[in-house]
C-alpha cells in the first residue's frame, strides 16, 4: 500500500446521496481476476450513455472539475461489499473521499487500498459543495498526521477521526495482512485453547 501523509488538491463534487457501490462499479465489470483497470469504468452508467458517449451532465466529464479528492453526498459506498469500488476510485486517481457518512464495508475497503475516507458534518459538507461550485479550483489540504482538512480560501479547518492503528498503517503504507501474519503464534495459541 502507498504511504499517505499530506495531500493538496482541488476537489470533485458529487452531490448525490446514498451512492451505492453498484453505481461506483456496476456488477458486469466484476469479472476480472486482477485489480487493474477498474478506473475506466468508475461510475460507468452515470458517466457514459449506453453507446459509450460521455454524458455531459456528469461531474467527471465536466472539465471544470478535477483533482484527487472526491466530495460526495451522505451515506457514500452503501450496498455491495465489492472492493472493486475502492479499486476503481484509486485507479481513477482519487486518494480521498469526503462525505458526511460512509457505509461500513466501503470505509474499510477504502482504508485497505490507501484511500482516506474523511467524515465531516453535514454542514461542512454543504460548505464544501458551495465552495467548489463557486471556485472549482479551490484547493484543499489534507494532513493525515494532524488529522485535519483545510480549505484556506474559505477558512475551513476541520479535524477528522481515524483510529491510531489505521493512521499508523496509512502513514507507513502497512497492510493489515502483515500485522496479522506477525500474530501467528497468538492465533495458533488461541486455536489450541478453544478446541
Amino acid at each position: 500500500m502507498k504511504k499517505f501523509d499530506i495531500l493538496e488538491s482541488s476537489m470533485v463534487p458529487l452531490t448525490v446521496e446514498n451512492v451505492d457501490t453498484d453505481q461506483i462499479i456496476p456488477a458486469r465489470f466484476l469479472k476480472a481476476t486482477d485489480r487493474k483497470g477498474f478506473g475506466e469504468n468508475l461510475f460507468r452508467d452515470w458517466r457514459y450513455s449506453t453507446d459509450g458517449q460521455p454524458k455531459e451532465d456528469f461531474v467527471l466529464n465536466n472539465p471544470d472539475f478535477s483533482g484527487s479528492i472526491l466530495v460526495a453526498g451522505n451515506n457514500f459506498g452503501c450496498g455491495s461489499s465489492r472492493e472493486h469500488a475502492a479499486w476503481a476510485l484509486a485507479d481513477y486517481g482519487f486518494q480521498v473521499v469526503v462525505s458526511s457518512f460512509f457505509a461500513d464495508i466501503f470505509r474499510g475497503n477504502a482504508l485497505n487500498n490507501g484511500i482516506l475516507p474523511i467524515q465531516v458534518t453535514p454542514s461542512v459538507l454543504q460548505e464544501l459543495f458551495a465552495t467548489i461550485e463557486k471556485n472549482p479550483a479551490a484547493q484543499a489540504k489534507i494532513d493525515l498526521e494532524a488529522q485535519e482538512l483545510r480549505v484556506p480560501e474559505v477558512d475551513i479547518v476541520v479535524p477528522f477521526a481515524l483510529d491510531a492503528y489505521k493512521k499508523m498503517c496509512m502513514l507507513n503504507g502497512y497492510d493489515d495482512i502483515d500485522y496479522l501474519l506477525s500474530q501467528k503464534e497468538a492465533i495458533e495459541a488461541f486455536e489450541q485453547n478453544r478446541l
Binding site: D20, G79, Y179
Partner: protein
C-alpha cells in the same frame, strides 16, 4: 477474540469462511504475491454462484470472462486444498443458501464472506458479516480479521402479522421506517414474537437484508427452531457433540435487561405487503399507499429513473418482468408460498416470470414437491441455481426501462441490467404481479 491492538481494533478469529468466484481471485493472488500459504483451508467452503448461467449448466459457460473467473476459482481451490461445490455438484448454489443448508452455518460462530449479504447467517445467532477482498486475503492468511467492536441495535416487533405478510415484507417495512444508513456501525438483533415464530427461512430473509439498512450484521436468538433446522444437516455435529453444542447454543441469547446503543419497536399489526418505488431499499411503501413527496435532488433523481411520480399510487402499475430468487428469497419455503398462490392460475401474457432456486438441493426439492409442474402450468420459467437476475452478472438481465417485481435485495439503478427498474417485494407479491401483469395487493384479494 484473539487479542486487541493497542489503541486499535480487535483480532477476531473467524470460524467459517465462505468464498465465491467474484471476490476471491484477487485474494488468492495476494497469497501468491506474498508467497504465503492458505492458513486453514478446512474452514473454507467455496461455490460458484454470482456469474454462473442458469441454463445448460452442464455445458461450458458461454461468456468468456465468466468462464475464466469460474475456472480460476476451481484452480485456486485445487491448489490450496479448499472444498469447492462448483457447477454440476449436488451442493452448488448461492453461498448464503448452501451455508445454512449444509449445516456449515451454526449458532455462535464467527463467519465471513466477500459478500455483503453474509448477514443472512445471523439468523442462526451467528456473528456473520460481509468483507472486502483485502479482508478475504487476511482470513486466508491468518483465519483472523482486524475489527472494531460494533454498536448494538435492537429492533423489536411483537403481535400478530397479517396473514398475507411475509418475512420479506417485515424487513422492507423496517428499512422503510429506519432508512438505509440507520444500522451503519451496528449489529442488529431482531427480537419479539414475530421473529420467534418465524421459520429459519424467514429469519434468513430478514437478516439477509440487515445490510440494506446499513448494518454489518443482523441476528436472531437461536432457539428450538434453530436447533431443529441444524440437526441432521451434512456438516452439523451429531450425537453427543450435538447435544453439547445445543447446550452451549442455549446460552447465546441476549440477557434479559441487556442494554442496546439503539432500540426501535414496531407493532406487527401495522405491517402490510410492501413494495419499493425508488432506487434504494429504504424507499418502500405499503402496496396501495402513495409514493411520498420530497423535494431533495437525490429523491427526484431516483423517481425519474424509476419513471414514477411522487404522490401517485403503484396499484395496477403494469409490469413486464418477475424474478423470484436471490439469497434473500430462493429457499424452498419461498417457492412453496409462490406456488401456493399461482396454483391453478396462469401468468399474464405480458410478463416474463423467472424462478431461480438458491441451490441444487432447493431445485431438487421443488421437483420432489411437484412445484415445478405448478410453475410450468402457470407459464413461469424454472431455471438452475445461481444469483441470476439479482445482480445481472450472467445473461439474466432485465431490459432498460422495464419494471421487474423482484424478490431480491437491491433496487439500485442498473442492478438488474442497465436501465432496469426494480420493485422489491415478497415472493407472494411477485407471484401475484406475474399473474395480474400489474402490481396488486394480495392482502386485498
Amino acid at each position: 477474540m484473539v487479542s486487541s491492538v493497542a489503541n486499535g481494533p480487535d483480532i477476531l478469529y473467524i470460524d467459517k469462511h465462505l468464498i465465491h468466484e467474484v471476490t476471491s481471485p484477487q485474494a488468492f493472488n495476494v497469497l501468491e504475491e506474498k508467497n504465503i500459504p492458505l492458513f486453514r483451508p478446512k474452514q473454507i467452503v467455496a461455490t460458484a454462484d454470482h456469474n454462473v448461467p442458469t441454463e445448460n449448466q452442464h455445458l461450458p459457460i458461454q461468456d468468456a470472462l465468466s468462464r475464466k473467473q469460474v475456472a480460476q476459482l476451481t484452480e485456486n481451490c485445487d491448489r490450496h486444498g479448499v472444498t469447492l461445490y462448483g457447477l454440476g455438484h449436488p451442493y452448488q448454489g448461492i453461498v448464503h443458501v448452501i451455508g445454512p443448508e449444509l449445516g456449515f452455518t451454526q449458532p455462535g460462530m464467527t463467519m465471513v464472506c466477500g459478500d455483503s449479504h453474509t448477514s443472512t447467517h445471523g439468523a442462526f445467532g451467528t456473528i456473520a458479516f460481509g468483507i472486502g477482498t483485502s479482508q478475504v486475503a487476511q482470513v486466508f492468511a491468518s483465519q483472523c480479521l482486524l475489527v472494531e467492536k460494533p454498536k448494538s441495535m435492537r429492533v423489536s416487533i411483537s403481535g400478530d402479522l397479517h396473514p398475507d405478510v411475509q418475512p420479506k415484507d417485515v424487513i422492507l417495512y423496517i428499512i422503510s421506517k429506519l432508512g438505509t444508513d440507520a444500522g451503519t456501525g451496528h449489529f442488529v438483533e431482531f427480537a419479539g414474537t414475530v421473529f420467534e415464530q418465524m421459520s429459519m427461512e424467514g429469519r434468513m430473509t430478514v437478516c439477509n437484508m440487515s445490510i440494506e439498512m446499513g448494518a454489518r450484521g443482523g441476528m436472531i436468538a437461536p432457539d428450538q427452531t434453530t436447533f431443529d433446522y441444524v440437526t441432521g444437516r451434512e456438516f452439523a455435529p451429531t450425537g453427543e457433540a450435538l447435544e453439547q453444542k445445543i447446550a452451549h447454543w442455549k446460552t447465546l441469547p441476549t440477557d434479559e435487561g441487556a442494554s442496546f446503543d439503539t432500540e426501535f419497536t414496531f407493532d406487527a399489526s401495522d405491517i402490510r405487503p410492501m413494495i419499493t418505488y425508488g432506487t434504494n431499499p429504504g424507499m418502500g411503501i405499503k402496496i396501495g399507499e402513495s409514493i411520498p413527496e420530497q423535494n431533495d435532488a437525490s429523491f427526484i433523481k431516483s423517481l425519474n429513473y424509476m419513471g414514477l411520480k411522487a404522490g401517485s399510487n403503484m396499484l395496477n402499475l403494469p409490469i413486464s418482468h418477475v424474478f423470484i430468487g436471490s439469497c434473500t428469497n430462493s429457499r424452498i419455503e419461498d417457492f412453496r408460498a409462490a406456488a401456493t398462490y399461482v396454483k391453478g392460475k396462469h401468468k399474464s401474457p405480458d410478463v416474463s416470470a423467472l424462478i431461480v432456486p438458491g441451490s441444487q438441493q432447493v431445485a431438487k426439492q421443488i421437483v420432489a414437491e411437484g412445484l415445478d409442474r405448478i410453475f410450468e402450468q402457470a407459464g413461469f420459467v424454472l431455471r438452475q441455481p445461481g444469483c441470476s437476475a439479482c445482480l445481472a452478472m450472467n445473461d439474466d438481465k432485465i431490459p432498460a426501462g422495464a419494471y421487474c417485481v423482484s424478490t431480491s435485495n437491491r433496487n439500485f439503478e442498473g442492478r438488474q441490467g442497465q436501465g432496469a427498474r426494480t420493485l422489491l417485494a415478497s415472493p407472494i407479491t411477485a407471484a401475484a404481479a406475474a399473474v395480474a401483469g400489474k402490481i396488486v395487493d394480495v392482502s386485498q384479494q
